[in-house]
Amino acid sequence: MGNGFKKLMRTQLVIPLFSLFLIIVFNLIRDVGFFSISIVTNNQGNPVLSGNLISILNGASAVAIMSIGMTFITSSCKGQDISVAAVAAIAGSVFVSVLRSYEITVPVIIYAFLLSCLISVVFSMFNGILVAVFKIQPMIATLILFSAGRSIAYWINGGATPTVSSPLLSAIGGFIPGIPVPTPIIIMIIFLVLISLVLRFTTLGLYTQVVGINEGTAHLNGINPVWVKLLAFVISGVCVATAGCITVCRIGLINHETLLLDAEMDVILAVAIGGTALSGGKFNLYGSVIGAYIIQALTVTLFAMKVPSAAVKAYKAAVIIIIVIFSSPVVKEFVVNLYKKMFKSRVKTPVKAS
């Protein structure tokens, strides 16, 4: 049993799952009905699911999708891309400008999405080349688009904040008639399934981690580290474009100033909470996604507690500090030792409760 516990402590999923569990328990104690889901009729007359749980899952989807790409970048490049939100604004602007120049039909939406993916991948590759080929520190390399990205989006939009509206778009950002689950949740699940398949049927996971842990070894075993890093940026580019487009569909307009503002920090935080070391190496994709939900759950909880929106960030920070400290190796070791003491020497006086 001791072994099972140790194994559990070693897996990277412990902390994110435990934090999620704590937030859920906290909410249940505070308000038993917090997670109740009800069926309501939305303004288009369709029965849809509603409740805090749904809004957590729904609200986190953009950050969760971006955290998938960020996980690959973090693992292989030993650093983070801080320009994801700005690139998402560019992708969203491209999406909107295509939609506005045609009549909105399904093929046009697909075309607009693919084009925004392409643009986003190009920008992401720009970061990737700086990082992988020129070996610039990721944070410095991506600082360029972090500051310039929203200006580029401003030019694409011609300085305005154009709106788009169509039942098709609200189906993507909200609900598809007949399906009571918000579409972003479905898209998120599709993404997760896709990426799981990629990990299952390619060696992407192994290559990424080998490059992140020891580039010298990767090179001498026939892996091209540059290629692996660029691939991470390509994946991230697609994730970022998807997140941008979902957000545009949800709010029906593109505002280059505010679209997914500060989301990059949430994304990086999601990866960190998820158990992937920000210094690269072993990664945990599902942990990152759970991390995104933890952050959103926190936000929703705080709003439900009527915390003023300006104060939410401070509360969030406080909770996150606790999570991060608990996931530090120092605390982990302490817990393992404590456990050993408690179960190996039952005869001795029990450990003092602190």
Binding site: R200, V210, G216, N221, G222
Partner: protein, 508 residues
Amino acid sequence: MQNNIVLSMRNISKSFPGVRALQNVDFTLRKGEIHALMGENGAGKSTLIKVLTGVHPKDSGQIFLEINGGLKEVNVRSPHEAQNLGISTVYQEITLCPNLTVAENMFIGRGNYRTVNWRSMKKKAAEILEKLNIPARAAQQLGTCSIAVQQMVAIARAVDMDCKVLILDEPTSSLDEQEVEKLLSLMRELKSRGVGIIFITHFLDQMYGISDRVTVLRNGELAGEYEVKDLPRVQLISKMMGKDLEDVSSLKKKSLPDEKADSPPVYEAVGLSSTNCPNEFDFKISKGEVNGFTGLLGSGRSESVRAIFAADKITGGRIKINGKSVKIKKPKDAMMHGIGYLPEDRKKDGIVEDLSVRENIILALQVMKGFFRPLSRAEAESFADEYIKLLGIKTASMDTPIKSLSGGNQQKAILARWLLTNPQYLILDEPTRGIDVGTKVEIQKLILRLAGEGVSVTFISSEIEEMLRTCSRLVVMRDRRMVGELRDEEMTQGNIMHMIAGEAEKNG
């Protein structure tokens, strides 16, 4: 009589989960003696040192230290405390700051922090350097000194902190012969000042050259304490291994296979050069041959084999595999043509430390299979299991991170990685460095067995005897050029030395 004993450890025991690392070990160090601590990897040398310096708490036993003329029992709880008691350690890897000056490195982290008198610090450092005859200036940046001098500065720092016991853990493993000589003379100097030195090394020559006494450990137990002059080498090795050396001497190498006109060499390079190995060279190896590259550190032997594997950027040359012209521009090309390469620096280029033993073993095969054809978990497990058994890799499980294995077992795992790819030509650059005698012999045997099965092997080792035992042909290198080749009977220590030194001796 406990005259001039500075340190006495009695009945020291220490276990880690699942392992008894030390069992009732005694160790005695006298004033002004150099006391070697010998044993295979995992014999308990480092654990003993770590118990002494307070890194690990001991389970039982006593440590006595000479304090003010009498032996007193001490309880060392941290390395810092050990230092205050006068026990200093210089580790294999230098733990100083290369970007600070020599003087700063000698005094950093000592005394009170409030004020630093740079001038007096520099002066004092210069005095110590001169006293110990260390060729460095106090104001020089440490990083610009050679590794040997850096090591000496580390020792000077330790010695200046009033140490009675100086522990040198493999101080010579990254030094060349001249540097080793300098370090050894520094050790003699300290000895004459009355410092008790514990010397851990894998090099028998150095151990015999300088030590007064030796304590041998085996499997966490004391195998004995001896006066060095009373212990012949063969006996020392059999004490360390716990068996007679017949195994070692029974190694039989193949003689050079007859060169047949109809079978082209497995690998042949003409005019090969790389960014790291700018001098073009020709090289070939035939099926089932074991050849070696020898030369001093920096003579270009590693750079040459790296060029063969295309580990550095290739700048020229034509390559034939089994007589057919091929292009080898990157490591993957070499791998696809059946070449395997075990790099010199296991930590930097060999292991992927956080990944499991299983993932480390299958890595090369996986890369050769390609991005879209991952090995299934079951396949990977059966491969890993097979080779863990075949090479006797000691690991808790195949899912254990490779970094928690001992050096010898890590090396075996990397060997397994290449054996799994079923190579026709295997390059092993220093596969036996820093691992215990038992594993060294196992690796040498493995090389000969592979050769018997028709695999060509290039074997590099800084221990010439090892190469003499296994190779049938030696390429000698000096100053980044191949200066000659020795075969079968020509291969003697003397001939090799002469050739490395550059003295013509054609009558070999």
